[in-house]
């Protein structure tokens, strides 16, 4: 808890006292922010009878058990099935977003074509329009295309929603690559798509990770579109399934199962974030600094 901060001006004891006070406050606030997460992590391992009682204390008083997770199997298909749905949607969105935005970013950065400026502004400006306001026609459109209740329909919509951010990120990433590198590769006989995949992509990898990470997390967590567009229970993603559990659509409300479900939804996000923290923050501040 002592000064890993670089002290501005040494003013003796007063500064030291201030710093201790700062760290105590900051640590307390940190505990406050982490508490709800810690609470659900611990409570999810309690016995079925315990989960009817208030989580005071949150940890299991008579032995850890994975019962709550086992009970999740009883809702609809197994929880693995719904986790699979969510994973398909999230990974699908990440992959498609990466492909589409890398191509577009490269095109915008390295080529000149008619109406380029207009098209770029058009793609970016979709961020101004909330997708909630176009949900009703999307519902009809997917039905017409035969994509209603298909996870792939959700993937296409989520990818579209990611495009303004992702195309902007990738365009900037390609712009930052000096053109001398391409020149050299061209002399070596590289061209077309090989230039992109063999030479350029390795150089914009950080941008790709950021774009993919945001696409994955947003698709994994999205609720409203999934709720509206998926009516077939087999196709539910985790947020839609767990909301049904929370409202007792499968019988009485099982809070233990809700806690376990929250864990299944939350843990992958937390792990991904902790591993790729740098890429995440880079994406977040990309817009803020400009």
């Amino acid at each position: 808890m002592t000064g890993t901060l670089t002290a501005p001006t040494p003013r003796g004891g007063r500064i030291r006292y201030h710093r201790v006070l700062f760290h105590v406050t900051a640590t307390l606030v940190a505990l406050l922010f982490l508490a709800p997460i810690a609470w659900v992590v611990l409570a999810s391992f309690r016995q079925a009878t315990d989960s009817l009682k208030p989580p005071l204390p949150p940890w299991p008083t008579d032995g850890f058990t994975a019962d709550s997770y086992v009970r999740l199997q009883e809702f609809g298909q197994s929880i693995l099935h719904y986790t699979g749905n969510s994973a398909f949607v999230a990974i699908g969105t990440a992959v498609l977003t990466i492909i589409v935005s890398v191509l577009a970013g490269y095109g915008f950065s390295r080529y000149r074509f008619p109406l380029k400026g207009l098209v770029f502004v058009l793609i970016l400006s979709t961020i101004m329009i909330p997708f909630q306001s176009i949900l009703t026609p999307l519902f009809l459109l997917l039905a017409k295309m035969g994509l209603q209740n298909k996870l792939i329909g959700l993937v296409l919509i989520y990818t579209t929603l990611q495009l303004p951010f992702s195309v902007f990120m990738m365009r900037n990433a390609f712009d930052a690559v000096p053109k001398e590198i391409e020149e050299a590769a061209r002399i070596d006989g590289m061209k077309g798509i090989a230039m992109l995949t063999k030479v350029m992509i390795p150089l914009v990898k950080p941008g790709i990770v950021t774009v993919g990470l945001f696409a994955f997390l947003n698709a994994w967590n999205e609720f409203l579109a999934a709720l509206v567009l998926l009516t077939d229970q087999d196709k539910f993603t985790l947020p839609v399934l767990m909301t049904a559990v929370r409202y007792g659509r499968f019988g009485s409300v099982d809070w233990g199962a809700v806690q376990a479900g929250v864990m299944v939804m939350m843990i992958p996000c937390l792990i991904l974030f902790l591993i790729l923290q740098r890429s995440y923050i880079r994406g977040l501040t990309a817009g803020a600094v400009k």
Partner: protein, 307 residues
């Protein structure tokens, strides 16, 4: 032709000139254009088109002109939803911006301890609204939750209060959840602005004898205005579109008092299946949001100019 101007630090590379290149570029961009057209522009046009129709789920749509908009004008439940959304936006924005600003000031310096605090404050952001709301629904539950039993145990209330059964505690429970979940997000945006302030400014002011508050008021605040404005716009837009938390934690209750604008559209379109009317509500909400963003951007630009 308008050149899309890269604002990155590297000099923009000269685009290739060849005739073939003219169309090659478009080929690369085509998938993105296709997605935006099919899943964004077409539905956007359809929203407007549907809003002038009586559009049931089954059966044929019927042109009714501006009837939907007329009806909306006299629809008390829509204005109530909008009013509630504004109230929530005010509470969430004031709460979020002040907490986020305070957190940003706390974590702006570099160091191992601050890096830990930063991560801790940010962690709820990545959990997603659905999981955070489910978690909160449990914590706010009267029997097996945390808040009311804890309040009772600490002697703050005599009996266990059902937080979610009455408007005021339910409203604040959700608002506090949102502050908990989103403060870290705005903290990072504001922090990036704080870190961009050159250290010599603060140093010079300190040497001139400016105290902490003076430096904050005359250096930090004016220089952090731009990222702060960005955070503000994102926060207002996000709150005006709130749905997940009110659907998952409160189901719009107690007695439909926490139905937000998006929730109302959801109910009209996907519960009552009045798709045309839902579309009209969407158009109105869209216009309100665009107006809000334009006003905020204006304010930011004017203030940016007079410095």
């Amino acid at each position: 032709m308008i050149e899309a101007n890269p604002s990155d630090e590297a000099a923009p590379p000269t685009p290739r000139r060849s005739r073939k290149g003219d169309w090659m570029g478009l080929v690369y961009v085509l998938p993105a254009i296709a997605l935006v057209v099919v899943f964004f522009l077409v539905p956007l046009g359809m929203t407007v088109w549907m809003s002038v129709h009586d559009w049931p789920l089954m059966g044929n749509p019927r042109w009714i002109g501006l009837d939907n908009y007329q009806r909306l004008w006299g629809d008390g439940s829509f204005w109530q939803a909008l009013g509630f959304t504004v109230l929530y936006t005010l509470a969430a924005t004031v709460g979020l911006m002040s907490v986020a600003f305070a957190l940003a000031l706390m974590v702006q310096s570099e160091g191992r301890a601050t890096a830990f605090y930063r991560t801790a404050y940010f962690l709820p952001v990545v959990t997603g609204f659905a999981s955070a709301s489910l978690l909160w629904a449990w914590l706010s539950n009267v029997d097996s939750g945390l808040f009311s039993p804890a309040a009772q145990m600490l002697g703050m209330t005599e009996r266990r209060v059902n937080i979610l059964a009455e408007f005021t505690p339910a409203f604040w429970s959700v608002t506090i959840m949102v502050i908990w979940k989103m403060a870290g997000f705005f903290m990072v945006i504001i922090m990036s602005g704080l870190q961009a302030i050159p250290a010599d400014y603060q140093e010079a002011a300190r040497i001139d004898g400016a105290g902490w508050f003076q430096r904050f008021r005359w250096i930090t605040l004016p220089l952090v205005r731009q990222p702060f404005a960005l955070a503000l716009i994102l926060c207002v837009a996000g709150s005006m579109l709130a749905f997940d938390q009110f659907y998952i934690i409160l189901n719009g209750g107690p007695s439909n008092q926490t139905v937000t604008a998006v929730y109302k559209i959801f109910n009209e379109s996907f519960v009552s299946f009045r798709l045309g009317y839902g579309a009209a509500l969407s158009v109105v909400l869209l216009l309100i949001l665009l107006a809000l963003s334009v006003i905020q951007l204006r304010l930011l630009r004017e203030k940016g100019a007079d410095k």
